[in-house]
C-alpha cells in the first residue's frame, strides 16, 4: 500500500516536471491565414516605407500605425495614404487576433498586441516616428 502511494507520488512529480518542460514552446504563427496577412502587409510595406521615412506616418504605442503629419504628403496622395493606414491597421488587428486563436487562447490577443507594439518600435529604422506617452518621438 505504502509502495503504491509512493509510486503514485513519484509519477505525479514526474508529470509535473514534464508539464514544466512543455510550458515554454514556440507560439504557433504559421497558419495559412497568418501567412496571408503577412504577405498582404509585406506588399503594403513597399508603399508605406517612404511615408515612415518622411514622418507622414508613425508607429503607435498600441501596435498600430497612424497618420502623424499629413502635410508631409502632397494633397493628391492624402486620401490614398489614409486608405493604406486603415488597411494596415485592419491587417494588424487580424494578425494579433489570429495568432491568439491559432494557439487556442483568444484571450491572449491583447498581450500579443502589446508584445508586437514594443517590437515594431524596437525594429523601426532610425528617423521613423513612434508614439511614447501620447507624444511623437523620432527614433
Amino acid at each position: 500500500m505504502k509502495k503504491l502511494l509512493l509510486t503514485g507520488l513519484l509519477s505525479m512529480t514526474l508529470m509535473g516536471g514534464v508539464g514544466l518542460l512543455q510550458a515554454a514552446p514556440d507560439l504557433e504563427a504559421n497558419t495559412p491565414v497568418i501567412t496571408a496577412i503577412k504577405t498582404s502587409m509585406q506588399t503594403r510595406h513597399a508603399q508605406l516605407q517612404s511615408y515612415y521615412g518622411s514622418g507622414a506616418i508613425g508607429l503607435t504605442q498600441d501596435g498600430y500605425i497612424a497618420v502623424k503629419d499629413a502635410s508631409a504628403v502632397p494633397l493628391s496622395q492624402r486620401g490614398g495614404l489614409a486608405g493604406l493606414v486603415k488597411d494596415e491597421n485592419s491587417d494588424r488587428a487580424r494578425l494579433y487576433k489570429e495568432i491568439a486563436a491559432a494557439n487556442g487562447h483568444p484571450e491572449w490577443q491583447g498581450e500579443i498586441q502589446s508584445t508586437f507594439a514594443g517590437r515594431w518600435i524596437d525594429k523601426a529604422q532610425a528617423g521613423w516616428f513612434y508614439q511614447k506617452e501620447g507624444a511623437w518621438v523620432k527614433k
Partner: protein, 73 residues
C-alpha cells in the same frame, strides 16, 4: 499494531490527496500563463518578414569578396 498500520496508510492517503489537489490546478495554470518570451520570438520573426529586415541584413553581411591575397616570399 495492525491498527497503527492502517492509520499510517490513512495519513499517506490524506497527504497524497492534498498533493493532488494542489498539484493538478498548478499543471493547468502553467499553460494559461501568457508565454511572453515565445510571443516576442514570434513577433520578431513576423516583423522581419513583413519589413524584410533579415534579407537586408544578409545582403549587408555578404560584401563582395575581397581579392585573394597571396603572400609570396
Amino acid at each position: 499494531m495492525r491498527r497503527r498500520q492502517i492509520e499510517f496508510g490513512k495519513t499517506w492517503l490524506v497527504i497524497a490527496g492534498l498533493l493532488a489537489v494542489v498539484a493538478l490546478p498548478a499543471c493547468v495554470t502553467i499553460n494559461i500563463y501568457f508565454p511572453a518570451a515565445a510571443a516576442e520570438k514570434a513577433a520578431d520573426k513576423i516583423i522581419d518578414e513583413v519589413w524584410q529586415l533579415k534579407q537586408e541584413q544578409e545582403g549587408a553581411q555578404n560584401p563582395p569578396a575581397a581579392a585573394p591575397t597571396t603572400t609570396t616570399p
